[in-house]
Structures are given as structure tokens and as C-alpha cells.
Symmetry: C2
């Protein structure tokens, strides 16, 4: 897979320095095809090397339990920056920075930004090193550029699937956002968190486009889900099992809130929030998801029943207005 820096030399040196005898490689879906090749690189150090084949969508999902179960003494986690405060198993993060230029596609995006002067930048860890040159390109086009840093992620301007604190921190200072990176997923997150016009400059496909229609559609879909859930009697409250998705206390509080309003609520523990798992419980008419906040939005069409976020439950129960919910952004936890 060209286009990413897998830091093979650093990885080998770190494995040797730590003296790891058994190593677990964890890659997100997009980088997984590289797993077997990278395992052969690490094997050269003499360490037994195992590739995790389970789904991984973020650093919230660090394979700690898996590593412990296999007696692994080092995890190498690719494609995400550090998220957990503490790793019980030594962990190296290989951020898989992109090695391709983004400037051409950013220039191509300029016409889409012509209505706005103050532009906020957002990107994934793969492109944080390119933000300075993106800024210069925009300044030359007479834009004012703002890069947010709320201090909760590793890099200024960085966004991850469930955390848009950096763009939210500058929402009042910008007219629109430019997201530099692949695909629609993170850009949609920017739009839904900020309710600002959001343009994508995708250096992989060399395409530029707005996600505003998609964001509006997703917002309407959340409203519909919430209205359907309002009429439901029995709720399931999902507690994630992944290290960065485990919020039992929040789940207990939401269960109590639902019960006080006359609903029946049952707690469910779950690793992967997938439609097939939820469809095993036909008596449950709607779910409240305290695990990964993106799931309900990305996969809404795939679920047979509403899957609400914490704040959506509050709106449903009349404890938060729809306007406040939208102002906080659809992911605010």
C-alpha cells in the first residue's frame, strides 16, 4: 500500500529496544491488507508476531484484552494517534502519515470555498503535517485560516471519528471548514459537530465536494429516529466493551432516566454494535448507545430500530431542546 509511512525501521528498532518477544499488530480496516507484510518485517527481530484480524475503527479499540489473553508484551497500533490515557500493555502508535501531496487538491477546492472568507481546517492524523502548507495555499487565496486546538487530541486541527473538539473550539471564528483527507466520514463529522458548511479536499481520489446535503439528511434522520423511539416501551441501553467505549455509569444513569419516565430499560454489554447483534432481541424497540457515538449515524439505515445517543435520549425525554442538541453538535458527549 503506497502513500503511507509505516515507519518500518523505527518499529523494528523499538521492538528490539523493548526486547519484545511476542508482538500484536493492530490495523484499522483500510490498512489491514498491509498486516501480513508488516508482520514479516517485525518477525525479523525474532519476535513472534500476530496480526489482529478483528475490526478496529479507532484507538478507543486498542487490543489490550487480546494482548493480555495471548501473553503479548508489545502492541503496535497503526493508523491512529494515542487516545487512551494509559495502556496496561506497552504500545507503539504508528500513525501511518500520508506521503502524498495535498496541495493540488486543496487548490482544486478553492472555488468551492469562494463564498467564505474565514476557513477552519480539519484533517486526520495522516495529514496533520500538511496543514502548514494548506494554510499557506489558502492565505495566498486571501482566506483567513484558523486551526483549532482544544487540547484533547494529539495535534491541532486533528479530528477523529468521535472527537471534533478542535473544530468545535473555533466554530465562532470561521465561516466554513475545509477538511483535507480521504472519504466523507470525518468531513461529515465536522459538519454535524459544527453545523457549518464543510468542503472536502480528498487527496486520494483528487475529488473536492461539499458534505452539507449529507449532513442535513443525517440530521433529519436523527430527528425521525428520536420521534420513533418516543413511542417505544422497551429500551436497550448499550454498554461498550472496548477500552475507550466503556461507560457503564452513563448507561446506568440513562436507564434510570428512562425508567422514571415509565419506560422499561435493559442493559446490554457489546463489543461490536452491529445490526445482527441487536436483532437478536425482538422485544427491544429502541437502543441507547453509550459505546461509539458515530455508529448510530453511519449505520442508521442498517439498523431495524432507532439507536439513540445520550443527548438524543435527553431530547426524547424533554430534558434538552432539539435546538440545544443541534448547537452542541450531534456527537457532544
Amino acid at each position: 500500500m503506497r502513500g503511507y509511512d509505516f515507519e518500518e525501521e523505527r518499529v523494528k528498532q523499538e521492538v528490539l529496544r523493548i526486547g519484545a518477544k511476542r508482538v500484536l499488530l493492530q490495523l484499522p480496516e483500510g490498512l489491514k491488507p498491509e498486516g501480513p507484510r508488516l508482520a514479516k518485517v517485525v518477525e525479523k527481530t525474532g519476535a513472534v508476531t500476530i496480526v489482529s484480524a478483528d475490526p478496529c475503527y479507532g484507538a478507543c479499540d486498542l487490543a489490550i484484552k487480546e494482548a493480555e489473553g495471548l501473553g503479548v508484551d508489545l502492541i503496535i497500533h497503526y493508523g491512529h494517534s494515542k487516545l487512551l490515557k494509559y495502556e496496561p500493555v506497552p504500545t507503539i502508535y504508528v500513525e501511518a502519515r500520508a506521503v502524498l501531496s495535498v496541495i493540488d487538491v486543496v487548490e482544486k477546492a478553492l472555488p468551492l470555498l469562494k463564498g467564505w472568507r474565514r476557513i477552519g481546517l480539519a484533517t486526520t492524523v495522516q495529514h496533520v503535517q500538511a496543514l502548514d502548507s494548506v494554510r499557506e495555499t489558502l492565505v495566498r487565496a486571501e482566506k483567513t485560516v484558523v486551526v483549532g486546538d482544544a487540547g484533547r487530541l494529539e495535534y491541532p486541527g486533528q479530528v477523529i471519528g468521535c472527537n471534533y473538539s478542535n473544530v468545535k473550539s473555533i466554530v465562532k471564528d470561521v465561516d466554513a471548514f475545509l477538511y483535507v483527507g480521504g472519504g466523507r466520514f470525518h468531513a461529515l463529522g465536522v459538519a454535524l459537530s459544527t453545523m457549518k458548511p464543510t468542503v472536502v479536499a480528498d487527496p486520494y481520489s483528487c475529488e473536492v465536494f461539499s458534505v452539507d446535503d449529507e449532513a442535513e439528511k443525517a440530521t433529519r434522520q436523527r430527528w425521525r429516529s428520536l420521534k420513533v423511539a418516543q413511542k417505544v416501551k422497551t429500551f436497550g441501553v448499550l454498554v461498550g466493551l472496548k477500552p475507550g467505549q466503556r461507560r457503564l455509569d452513563q448507561a446506568l444513569r440513562l436507564k434510570l432516566k428512562l425508567e422514571r419516565k415509565g419506560k422499561v430499560a435493559c442493559l446490554f454489554a457489546i463489543n461490536e454494535v452491529v445490526p445482527e447483534a441487536l436483532s437478536e432481541f425482538p422485544t427491544v424497540g429502541a437502543y441507547v448507545n453509550t459505546a461509539c457515538p458515530r455508529l448510530s449515524i453511519e449505520d442508521a439505515q442498517r439498523f431495524d430500530v432507532p439507536v439513540l445517543s445520550k443527548n438524543e435520549v435527553l431530547v426524547m425525554l424533554g430534558e434538552m431542546s432539539w435546538e440545544e442538541f443541534c448547537r452542541k453538535g450531534l456527537f457532544e458527549s
Copy 2:
């Protein structure tokens, strides 16, 4: 769900006796719809009660890590008998015995057994209490009845998805097997482990049928998979992460064997061996599965590439003959 004994009173008393404050309920797919109702029963003791929504296909998959992650002090595992030698979290097994009679359907199965005199009995834990009356029914029909007990499962005559030691222990003493229970899955296991004619008496559907054609088809399919794998260069060796499916040493030995024959082999750790997970690694042409031995057979059609068992690898590498492999039974580990 009628037809099963969920032992609700015993469960409540045990929760109170143990003084559990946080309880995790784990049910196999077929019983999962009962989860929310059973949670409400356990909640009456005052314990916080959580239902596991992740897939569960056997007691090999006891939710120990999940329980530890959630600070649970008692697991209630439904639908299977005890399998692990030791549970790090206190565990109650509720075997979910069937409360329906099997005699009518066993009588209906008699014509299918008419060619054979010596009949071996097999069933799941749901019906072990019915084996005495099944025996009587067959004896009245002038059959000699044999119930095996190899000492590796909880009850004589019992089979589970991956362990047919009880029927294998009597394979020389019988002409055919009668499996009493629901569906084709366990009966197919009996046929593939013993290579004996196997008749099903299903008390749920009241149907009686042979699984011999299906077993022959599955055996031929295994042969084809093995032949396809022989030409593959790069293998993935799967290590299960579930408590009763973790065989890293076996995986390491198989990797070495493959490498000695000039193959490239890479270790993969995996919770759920599903086609979507394996399809993330397009450079891998075949897998060796040391996790759940049934998966390759049940789901063979769903996988894009061959997924071989340990013994199938030995046949492929010329270290075991096909005849010996069949004689040992397709699940012999």
C-alpha cells in the same frame, strides 16, 4: 420462549446467596430473545444486570473478559453445560433443559432406523434427561441401545458443537446413531465424527430425517478445500481469542510446519472467525483455523478461501492420509 426451563427461582436464590451486586447474563443465539425478560428476573434481587449482546455459540466462549471489564461478580451462562476447567469469575450454568417430550418424535423416527439393530444415542444438554425414556422406546422396538461416556463432557450421550467424544467412544459398538434434538448442526457433527448413518428426531419441528447426504457433501467439500489450499503460497494461521478457543502453541507449530514446506505463514488473532474479517487480507490465500473447529464446515460456502483444520493441514502436507483423517473424524483435534 416456552419449552425450556430457565430455573428462575434457583438463579435468584444463587444471586442472593453469592451476594452478587453486578451480574452478566450470557445466552446463545437461540435463547437470546429471553435475555431482557431474564434480566428483569435477576434485577429483582437488587443486582445490576447486564445482558451480553455479543455472539455466543458455546461454553468455550464464556464472557470472562467482558465480566472483568465491567466489574461483574457473577456470570449466568445459559444453554450450555460447563466446559472450562476453571472460571476466574464465579459462574452459574443454567443448562436450559427442554420441558417438551421427545418420545413421539423418537417413535416417528423408528422406520428410519429399521436397517440397523445397534443404535447409539446422542443429544444436547437440553435433552439428556430424556435419554432413559428414548432408550426404553428403542428397546421396545427391539433395538440394542448404546450411550457413550468418554468422560470429557458433563453427561453421557451428550454432544456439543466441537466435541463428539461420547459418540466416538462407541462407534465400534453401533450400526447407526439417533440424534435427539433440534436442527441439523449437532447431528451433522455426529455423522462427520463417526462416519456412521445418523438419523435426527427433532422434537421442536417433529421432523425425522437422515443427515447422511449432508455429511457426504461436507466431506467432499473438505477434500476440495484441501486441494485448493495445496496450491496456495501464503497462509494465515488463526488463533482464537475466546477462553476455550485459544491455541497459540498449536498455531505456532502449524506455522512452522507450513514454513518448512516452503509456504509463507502469518499468525492472526481473532474473536469471531467470520468471512468479512478474513476478506480484509487479500494476500492470504488460505487459512488454518485453530479456534472453533466447526466454523470451516458450517460456513465453508461463505468463505472466499479455504479455511482448514489442523488435521486438514497435516493431510495437505502429506503427514496424514485422507483415510486416517476420515477415520479420526473431521473434528478430532
